[in-house]
Amino acid sequence: MRNETHQHAEQEALAALVDEYAQMLYRVAFSVLHNTADAEDAVQEAFLRVLRHSDRLHEVRDRRVWLIRIVWNLVLDRKRRVKTRAETDDIADLARVLPAEGLSAEDRAAAAEHHAQVLECVEKLPEKEREVLVLSAFEELSSVEIASILGITESSVRSRLFRARNLMAGLLQHTRNSR
């Protein structure tokens, strides 16, 4: 009886986690994978891992950072292992669906091209700098939280972000000059 009650409580806690964090985890996964189906798979897998370790859920201090770290490791692993589609296809698709409200058709096309350029340059960045830059785009994450997700110090996050921005500026400038 007590066991059943305990399980029921665990299920409720898990359902609450899904309601609260599923969307955010999806966005984190999507920002790396650039594909809706893959991002949703990663979220499903992340919550299955949480289910496997649900008995230790009460030990976790910051559940949001903990969940992001799980999904972050999953998506990085998936990106390294599975290369079924060409990255450029995903980027082009993504650039077309990015919000560009109140723009004419011509400006919309220019915006899509610009987004595609940026995303291609991001992919060219070194892994460490790219990771910090992608996570810094999530405004709800502080540098301390990014450091906790990546398992580095806060000062490392700042220095990597500085390098990433400089590199991005150089890459974008070079891309525009060459076109």
């Binding site: 899904v18 599923a22 999507f30 949703e40 979220v43 499903q44 299955l48 289910l51 995303l119 992608v134």
Partner: protein, 196 residues
């Protein structure tokens, strides 16, 4: 969720890094397809039910009284191959042990008995048409005979006998005008004997 960042023309923004960040923020704000939470919960429920069923099956298997083998499981394992059944594996191991121990005991029990000679071995006679050994027999190697030194007085007597015999022979064989063993005039003056 926050409002999406409005797009600006690339040329109008001075800092390219800011442009990049704007794009990344736009990506980070992309909403998920509708019903994500429901799909995740449904998947979790399915997995939970499967885990519960597995746990129940394990518990029911553990409830069997100790010492009694699970007959159905054994039969099923036996059908898949004897290596899958713990009982059959145990039986085969016991059979191997019995064979090894029995063999060792048999060797110890009967192997020590010494064979008594039943007949005297004789050299084989060659059958007609075969090569014979021509009567050759193997002789065993003997020890070398020890040399015993002769007694002193016996040795002196034997020496005298031999010298007498030599002198007697010389007198008879030597001619009268044979040159003596004296020094001749041609002999070297330094005292050395002339060579014959």
């Amino acid at each position: 969720m926050k409002e999406p960042i409005p797009f600006r023309q690339p040329g109008k923004v001075s800092n390219p890094a800011q442009e990049a960040l704007a794009t990344l923020r736009a990506v980070a704000q992309m909403p998920a397809a509708k019903g994500l939470e429901e799909r995740v919960k449904a998947n979790l429920t399915r997995n939970l039910a499967r885990n519960l069923a597995q746990n129940l099956a394990q518990k029911s298997a553990q409830k069997l009284p100790a010492g009694l083998p699970d007959v159905e499981a054994e039969l099923d394992a036996g059908a898949r191959g004897w290596m899958h059944s713990a009982t059959l594996r145990g039986l085969s191991a016991a059979a191997i042990v019995l064979i090894v121990v029995g063999g060792g005991w048999g060797a110890a029990r009967y192997g020590r008995r010494q064979a008594t000679p039943q007949a005297v071995g004789m050299p084989r006679m060659a059958a007609p048409g075969e090569f014979s050994n021509s009567g050759a027999m193997r002789t065993p190697q003997t020890l070398t005979q020890p040399k015993v030194p002769k007694a002193k007085h016996e040795a002196q007597a034997a020496e005298k006998r031999s010298s007498k015999a030599k002198n007697g022979k010389r007198r008879k064989s030597k001619p009268t005008n044979a040159p003596t063993n004296k020094r001749s005039g041609n002999a070297p003056k330094d005292g050395t004997r002339a060579r014959r």
